[in-house]
Amino acid sequence: MEYHKFDIVALQDIYDSMVEIEDEKTPQLAEKAFNDGVDVLKIIDALTKGINSVGDKFEAMECFLPELIIAAGIMDEAMKFLRPELEKKKLFVGTSGTIVIANLQGDIHDIGRNIATVMLKASGFIVHDLGHDVKPDVIIDKAVEFNADVIGLSSLLTTSLPYSKDTIKLLQDRGLRDRFKVVMGGAAVTPDYCRDVQADGYAKDAAQGVRVISSLLSGK
């Protein structure tokens, strides 16, 4: 885990508290720092670096999925009062991109998708989690509705994989294929399968998913 150091004590406290996943204390520290006049963007930066460090700990099995979810909740809680301040001052915090994510039709295995959702959120993406057993047309309708950049498809079942073909075919039929990047992951997915169905990216796990999507959206 990369440990970040801050010049301002209040920011260090926020970061350390997030890394320790102190769900009540961290938003309080963030609010106090803001009330004491610390720049709102710097507070958000400390929180973001903190949640990224929690993601690193999860990868190293130093913390577990529920703690990752709690950390994402801490971020949401802190943003409840920081976001209005941003809007008031007409400041803008850029997001890394917007993703709709779903388990393919027939697949009800949530955990991999849950992990990916939390790690993507922790990395600054706006994620709309559509749940499990989602039909191709629903995935596409939601991607359009949320103006997504990426469609994430997950499957543990080999027998649900063919629905990824349907999703991509439907995107083509509707003339939407170029509008979205399609990234696939889950235990049943292989790089070869992704190539065969002409998905844009393959992720063997959630952490790689973050890297692949970041790379696709930055055009690298």
Binding site: M61, F64, I69, G106, I108, S160, P162, Y163
Partner: protein, 433 residues
């Protein structure tokens, strides 16, 4: 979150600890604590039905009664090919029942029969588990689609043919119907032409401690069509139960709940590492070991541990992983639910690595290896394959390691087998053959 909090609380209360240097445990006190903690977790959490959002709750007396009436010994298969599956205890004088086959691994249609024959031909394999068909006559098999029926039936026809052609027509088919993830496929094979009542089918517990009407329909199927049944439990290490100790508690609770709610005859244990998937991680083998010891001491059941490896057939790595899993499972009073090469993703599998698994099992049993000796051996073996978690060697497809017509391993693959067998013998495994 309730699961995490409860498992964490119980882990602290019982002082459960995972030590990365003790993979095969001999710690009776901790094993008993895992059993009691798992019982409390099962009572507190129950089993959530995703279909109704109702929690299926049990009294402790109901769970203990279910344990009492669960079979401790059963004859699987027919005639000369029948084998006894046991709820194992330490020092009971019986080695594990060895299951062979590529569990649920997608196999190409044209290779399904020869791959299954490669397992059926191995004399040390007691029962067989099928791979899965993801295409039938060139068409994709889809969840809830009509081809699930066709695929499941064809799977059974070919597995039966593989057994007949290998002279073992009565062998038990474990977890029949791997080509379908739904109750549709199970119902489709409830016929003597496909799944006999001397075979078994699998009923998963959804992670963690959940079920739904599709799973419960399989339970009903099992009651009406009296084939044997087995649970499938995949606690995620690092997931909602927490780390290795939490996963051990969740696995224990799931075994208890599925014994009562599903009435299964056997259980398939499959702890999944949140990053590397494989059971051959230190965490995965420890979870199996402590839970195996917990049940052997407190409430013996027929527990079959999955042995999923990162590496694929045709590599030395898969044999090191195989040896470690076999040693750990045999020394923890478990049976096995087969070796899943490449975590069941690629069809890079064959009967030869299953032969090696059985070779190691029989050696460990015959030399009466203690858990402490087994642990030292597993730690040595782990050093030989740990690099593969980051840089997997997925090996080679069946046709490159076997002659698919003669169903015989090619010389290069045999050479690797003999070389690794010699290496493993040098570090303490006294092979019989």
């Amino acid at each position: 979150m309730k699961l995490f909090k409860t498992a964490s609380k119980l882990g602290k209360e019982y002082d459960l600890k995972f030590d990365k240097d003790i993979i095969v445990t001999a710690d009776d006190k901790m094993a008993d604590a895992v059993f009691e903690g798992g019982m409390r977790l099962a009572l507190e959490m129950g089993m959530l039905s995703q279909s109704t959002q109702r929690v299926i709750q049990f009294e402790e007396s109901e769970l203990r009664l279910a344990l009492k009436v669960a079979p401790k010994e059963m004859i699987l298969g027919i005639g000369k090919d029948a084998r006894t599956m046991r709820a194992r205890t330490f020092g009971d004088g019986h080695p594990m029942t060895v299951c062979g086959g590529p569990p649920g691994t997608p196999l190409p249609e044209e290779l399904f029969l020869p791959v299954m024959m490669s397992y059926a031909k191995e004399p040390l394999i007691d029962i067989i588990i099928p791979g899965s068909l993801t295409r039938i006559e060139g068409m994709d098999v889809r969840t809830n689609g009509p081809l699930e029926i066709r695929a499941n039936r064809q799977e059974m026809i070919w597995v039966r043919e593989a057994l007949e052609r290998s002279g073992r027509p009565g062998m038990h088919i474990y977890a029949a119907g791997e080509s379908s993830a739904t109750e549709l496929g199970t119902l489709a094979i409830c016929n003597e032409r496909y799944m006999r009542i001397s075979d078994s089918h699998m009923i998963p517990v959804l992670s963690e401690l959940k079920t739904d009407n599709a799973r419960l329909s399989r339970v009903m199927t099992g009651l009406e069509y009296p084939a044997f049944t087995t649970s499938l439990i995949d606690p995620i290490i690092g997931g909602f139960g927490g780390g290795p100790t939490g996963a051990a508690l969740v696995l224990t609770a799931a075994i208890l709940l599925s014994t009562a709610a599903y009435g299964v005859d056997m259980h398939c244990l499959h702890p999944i590492h949140n990053k590397y998937i494989s059971v051959s991680t230190k965490e995965g083998m420890w979870v199996d070991s402590i839970v195996g010891r917990a049940f052997a001491r407190n409430a013996p059941l027929a527990l079959l541990a999955d042995a999923w490896t990162t590496a694929g057939a045709g590599t030395a790595e898969i044999l090191y992983e195989t040896a470690a899993l076999a040693v750990a499972q045999e020394a923890s009073a478990l049976n096995t639910d087969a070796l899943g090469a490449t975590n069941g993703v690629y069809p890079n599998c064959s009967g030869l690595e299953a032969r090696f698994f059985a070779d190691v099992i029989h050696a460990v049993f015959n030399q009466k290896m203690t858990p402490e000796e087994a642990n030292q051996l597993v730690l040595k073996l782990f050093e030989k394959y740990k690099h593969g978690f980051e840089q997997p060697n997925y090996g080679l497809p069946f046709t490159e390691i076997y002659d698919p017509h003669k169903i015989m391993p090619k010389q290069e693959w045999l050479d690797i087998y003999h070389r690794v067998k010699n290496e493993v013998a040098e570090i303490g495994v006294e092979f019989i053959t």
